[in-house]
Amino acid sequence: MIGLTHFLIVGVIVFSLGVFCVLTRRNAVGILLGLELMLNAANLNLLAFARFGGGAADGNVFVVAVIFLALAAVLVGLAIVLSVHRSFGTVDVRAAETLRG
């Protein structure tokens, strides 16, 4: 029926979509969304292996940790985006290229 492989494939698809978002979006929030996608794809993987890979609940616990970490990362990220917006008047990452050589 729906086995491990299906979860893993969905996970890969979501991860690649997340990578694509991170690499190509102009909007800073969009990059953060991509980051979330990658993290959640990793969560899917973990949950998949936790459900189908034996009885151990290690995976579930790890997922909770990952969710908290993603939360922290997004918090800090959004704070930076807000600061950038205040300085440059926009969230387009191409506007914040002033720190360069």
Binding site: V19, V22, L23, T24, A28, I31, V93, R94, A96, E97, T98, L99, R100, G101
Partner: protein, 682 residues
């Protein structure tokens, strides 16, 4: 060694003290008490010295002939290493003669000066120098040690310099004084070298001394000493003769004496006629014991003397300046004295020294009297017929001139005749020497009477205003003049030789000084020959008189005839003294200047150039170093700095500031890490 006589120290010291006193207080004194008073005070030391001399002379005469020495040791002057010089004064017959001459003529000159220089503002200076001179001259003739004599030698040279250049504001006078001193200095080199040589010889023999008595006693030691193969007596006497020749104005060191006439005439009478110039003759006579050991030097002395005598006499005959004529005459007569010394007849030389001293002093004082009347115009061509206005002066002058000419029975005849006789009998070319001396005597007579005639006889050639002022001199001047003239007449008795009925008192008097050491060459005594010679001498004297008369009174002989006899030699050149001054100017003055210029050029071109080159090279090194610094070092640093900047630039380029780029790099790096991990470590 002789009898001690402390008053000798006073004899020398009083004039010196007088000089000091007058020198310090004289100007005030002169303003206070005037010229006559000053003259009296200035003459006092000399008068006392004269009295002391006479007293000492009497003492000597009272002793037996071989015990006639008085001496006094005033103290040790120098004590250096092996040399000990005592300031000893020795009064023996020779010094007695010289001292009497110095003090006697000195006193007369003092009296005369008070009269002739009455209006001179610097009179106190003059008297101080005169006293100093007499003191120094007395020290010279009484010196018992050669080094003390040398000090006195320099002392009289200084006084001569100061008195010649007395009117120093005129540069010509000052230069004449300097000339006298410098030429004397040249001689002093020889004198000092001679003294040193004698000391060295004595020292080598174990008796280091310069005392004259000691040297005389050890003359045998000196006789045998040699220096690099040269005989010490020959060398030493040669050097000493150089000194004597400068002081006694022999050729070629005579050039200072004609110029010395720039000084006051009484000073010339004392210094350049009777005393200082005779110091050279005195030196040779005093060291007679040494000179007899060197016959070659004696021959040289005789010939130098003869040549000097003759050439100076020719020059004297051509002078228009009365004082210059007398000075050349002095040179000539000194030459005759040297001739006498050269033929080993020192007493004849000293006889002539005495008579000439008196005669020449009289002539100079007479000339001074003439100048006093002529307002100091010395040119004979402006004189003439002066006997009308100056009868006394004329009388004295004629007498003295006759004595100089050698007219018998005046003193000059006897002394000159003695010299001629000794010259004839000499070894080294005697007859030739005699002939030269005879010619000189003829010339002497000629120029002596020429002076008399041109000055006193004939028509007066002065300008009207001068003629109006002609007057006889005051008594202060005439008395000394007359005294000297009288002596010039009578002094012949002193040396009257046996053949003429005299006893040669002077020769006998002096013989202890000479005979005790070496017996004087006895002249051959053929009476007939002696008389014949005397007649010749007298004839020559009268011949000169005749020629002068013919030329200047009866005008039968003209100067053209003389010029023809002289063989075409220009009389102007003879008058200028045979061009010695021009020669010395060319060699020494120009030579020294050229040497100075060459040295300066060497200094500029060589040394300065070297220093500048050194500076330039240092500057070159500095700029090279700077260039190196600039090109090499700076460039290296600049380049390395630039390289760092460039690399930094490249690395900086990585910092694009673009988030997308950073994310791409992060993803690719993670992917690469995963791949590498999967491939796995082997």
């Amino acid at each position: 060694m002789g009898v001690a006589e402390p008053s000798l120290a006073c004899l020398v010291g009083l004039p010196l003290l007088g000089a000091l006193g007058i020198g310090l207080g004289g100007s005030r004194l002169q303003r206070r008490i005037g010229a006559s008073g000053l003259g009296a005070i200035a003459s006092a030391p000399i008068a006392v010295a004269t009295a002391l001399t006479v007293r000492a002379l009497a003492q000597l005469m009272a002793n037996a002939p071989d015990a006639r020495i008085l001496d006094v040791r005033v103290g040790t002057w120098l004590a250096v290493g092996d040399l000990q010089v005592d300031a000893t004064l020795v009064f023996d017959p020779l010094s007695a003669l010289m001292a009497l001459l110095v003090t006697g003529i000195g006193a007369l000159v003092c009296v005369y000066s008070a009269g002739s220089m009455r209006d001179e503002p610097g009179l106190w200076r003059y008297f101080a120098l005169l006293n100093l001179f007499i003191g120094a001259m007395l020290l010279l003739v009484l010196a018992g040690d050669l080094l003390v004599l040398f000090v006195a030698w320099e002392g009289v040279a200084f006084c001569s310099y100061a008195l010649i250049g007395f009117w120093y504001r005129d540069a010509a006078n000052a230069n004449a004084g300097a000339k006298a001193f410098i030429v004397n200095r040249v001689g002093d080199v020889g004198l000092l070298l001679g003294i040193s040589l004698l000391f060295w010889a004595m020292h080598a023999a174990g008796k280091p001394t310069t005392d004259i008595g000691e040297l005389a006693r050890h003359s045998d030691v000196l006789a045998g000493a040699t220096l690099f193969g040269w005989s010490v007596p020959a060398l030493a006497t040669l050097l000493l003769f150089v000194g004597a020749a400068a002081k006694s104005a022999q050729f070629p060191l005579h050039v200072w004496l004609p110029d010395a006439m720039a000084g006051p005439t009484p000073a010339s009478a004392l210094i350049h006629a009777a005393t200082m110039v005779t110091a050279g003759v005195y030196l040779i006579a005093r060291l007679d014991f040494l000179f007899v050991l060197a016959p070659s030097t004696q021959a040289l002395i005789a010939w130098v003397g003869a040549v000097t005598a003759f050439l100076a006499a020719t020059a004297a005959a051509c002078q228009d300046d009365i004082k210059k004529a007398l000075s050349y005459s002095t040179v000539s007569q000194l030459g005759l004295m040297m001739l006498a010394l050269g033929v080993a007849a020192p007493s004849a030389a000293l006889f002539h020294l005495t008579t000439h001293g008196v005669i020449k002093a009289a002539l100079f004082l007479g000339a001074g009297s003439i100048l006093h009347a002529m307002r100091n115009d010395r040119d004979l061509r402006h004189m003439g017929g002066l006997r009308r206005w100056l009868p006394w002066t004329h009388g004295a002058f004629v007498v003295a001139a006759a004595a100089l000419a050698g007219i018998p029975p005046f003193s000059g005849f006897f002394s000159k005749d003695e010299i001629l006789w000794r010259a004839l009998a000499a070894d080294a070319g005697g007859p030739l020497l005699w002939f030269v001396a005879l010619l000189t005597s003829a010339l002497t007579s000629f120029y002596a009477f020429r002076l008399v005639i041109l000055a006193f006889h004939g028509d007066n050639r002065s300008e009207a205003h001068v003629r109006e002022g002609l007057h006889e001199s005051p008594r202060a001047m005439l008395v000394p003049l007359s005294v000297l003239a009288a002596l010039a007449v009578s002094l012949g008795f002193l040396g009257l030789p046996d053949v003429f009925g005299g006893t040669d008192r002077l020769g006998t008097w002096l013989s202890p000084t000479f005979a005790a050491l070496v017996p004087e060459t006895a002249a051959p005594t053929s009476v007939a020959a002696r008389y014949l010679l005397a007649v010749t001498t007298a004839a020559v004297a009268f011949g000169g008189l005749t020629l002068a008369h013919a030329m200047y009174i009866s005008h039968r002989v003209s100067s053209d005839a003389i010029a023809r006899i002289a063989g075409g030699v220009p009389l102007r050149w003879i008058q200028a003294g045979y061009g010695f001054d021009a020669l010395y100017r060319a060699v020494f003055h120009r030579g020294v200047r050229q040497l100075a210029r060459a040295s300066a050029a060497l200094d500029r071109g060589g040394i300065d150039a070297g220093v500048r080159a050194l500076g330039a090279s240092v500057r070159g090194i500095a700029s090279a170093t700077a260039a190196f610094d600039r090109l090499a070092i700076d460039r290296t640093i600049d380049r390395s700095g630039g390289a760092v900047l460039r690399i930094g630039g490249w690395i900086r380029a990585l910092q694009t500031g673009s988030i997308h780029v950073y994310l791409y790099i992060a993803v690719i790096a993670v992917a690469a890490a995963i791949v590498l991990h999967l491939i796995g470590p082997r």
